[in-house]
Symmetry: C2
Subunit: 242 residues, 2 copies
């Protein structure tokens, strides 16, 4: 079996044959993959040029295009969902043009040799991915068991808005002082301290009357520099893992 309505798979197809299959796949909203010798040009938010080499190209029905080399988790070039694809025959080569607007971006993959082309009908994906161990999970645990932060801590709100953005958890300590928590699911660096500082300062300014606001960074661990920044700014740290 080499081709059905379900799956098309061609090894070393002619450029013309590949063109027809690719155009058909784009038209039908199927998922197409190609592997072969190609160059890639991109122009949009940035601009890039990739010389000849053997790569894997995936063309999704939602408009995504991914160009993968034999290394790395990230595609070497890509186009986001919502882009418009078009197959073209140009001077004996197969070109995949992908364009989107806002921002204006174009990607062109030019194949001089196609080792393999495949087209798949995807149908609905259950897409029922459940993930555990997120920052959201940490938040739930803290709301259920506020003593994980410190004895007497009382959460009053989540995502409380401040002029600098929304605070993860807003509450009071046993002495009634305002406490805000910034949660991170992994070891934190200076950026998280900066974020906490922004919220604390914005809130102190917002509550004006010289109110003291305690800021606590909650994460599995901190880097040295982040710890020093916390100390310098008078913020605190509580170790908690998701």
């Amino acid at each position: 079996m080499t081709a059905t309505e379900e799956t098309v798979a061609l090894s070393e197809p002619s450029v013309e044959e590949a063109y027809g299959r690719l155009a058909g796949a784009i038209d039908r909203g199927a998922l197409a993959t190609l592997f072969g010798e190609c160059t890639v040009e991109y122009d949009g938010r940035a601009a890039s040029s990739l010389g000849p080499g053997r790569r894997h190209v995936m063309c999704k029905p939602d408009g995504t295009v991914l160009v993968h080399t034999d290394e790395g988790q990230k595609p070497v070039n890509w186009q986001p969902p919502g882009s418009e694809q078009e197959a073209r025959l140009e001077n004996g080569a197969l070109e995949l043009h992908s364009r989107r607007e806002n921002p204006d971006e174009e990607l062109v993959v030019r194949f001089t040799d196609i080792a393999h082309l495949a087209v798949f009908e995807t149908g609905d994906d259950g897409a029922n991915l459940s993930v555990a161990g997120t920052e959201e999970d940490m938040k739930r645990r803290i709301l259920e068991e506020p003593e994980l932060i410190e004895p007497g801590f009382r959460p009053l709100a989540t995502e409380r808005s401040t002029p600098a953005g929304a605070v993860d958890v807003y509450g009071e300590d046993r002495e009634g002082r305002v406490v805000i928590l910034e949660l991170k699911r992994r070891r934190v660096g200076p950026d998280a301290v900066g974020q906490l500082n922004r919220y604390v300062e914005a809130l102190e300014r917002d509550l004006h009357a010289g109110v003291e606001v305690r800021g606590i960074l909650v994460a599995p661990s901190v880097t040295d520099r982040a710890r020093r920044l916390l100390a310098t700014n008078g913020r605190e740290f509580v170790s908690l893992s998701p």
Copy 2:
């Protein structure tokens, strides 16, 4: 042509045949792709479970594994470069096990039906990707033409280290005041202001003697909230695109 030393492509292979081909590809350091009905379990930095559905799986010779559905630019599940792959036959299903250490992470893709399997020899990729329009490009332009910031600005160093991290550009204004620049290749939000603040405050503390340090955010544009934060903190903004 359905199979050569260069490329193997099988439509609706038996589980046993697919197992042999996949194991061989992993062994040889080839790039393998599968498409078919599968479930995915992941446990590591987080944990996730993905119910049955038709997906595309790519297995790179560098140890990367990518599981793609018909939507989205990001894989629904993955394993980073350096992971170890193993194919297994379990109860009439083909399983791809991927494991890595530090952090300990495992991914298992279990295929109950394989619509297509392909194996590609990649050989060296030219990998000569050149990108333009990065933050690095902005920095070069500013060093060549400091007046893009303001008349009389003199850059003295790049990546100058402070207790809070390295500053993009460090220099002096026409009056001899210390100026630091934080560059961003795109429109900036509050996080960039926080970053700039960290650097300015760390540097003022470091130079102690009550030295005033000017902090300028250099980017194509700013959000409203970021602009307010800049004003509140006495920082400046210069519009420049990469």
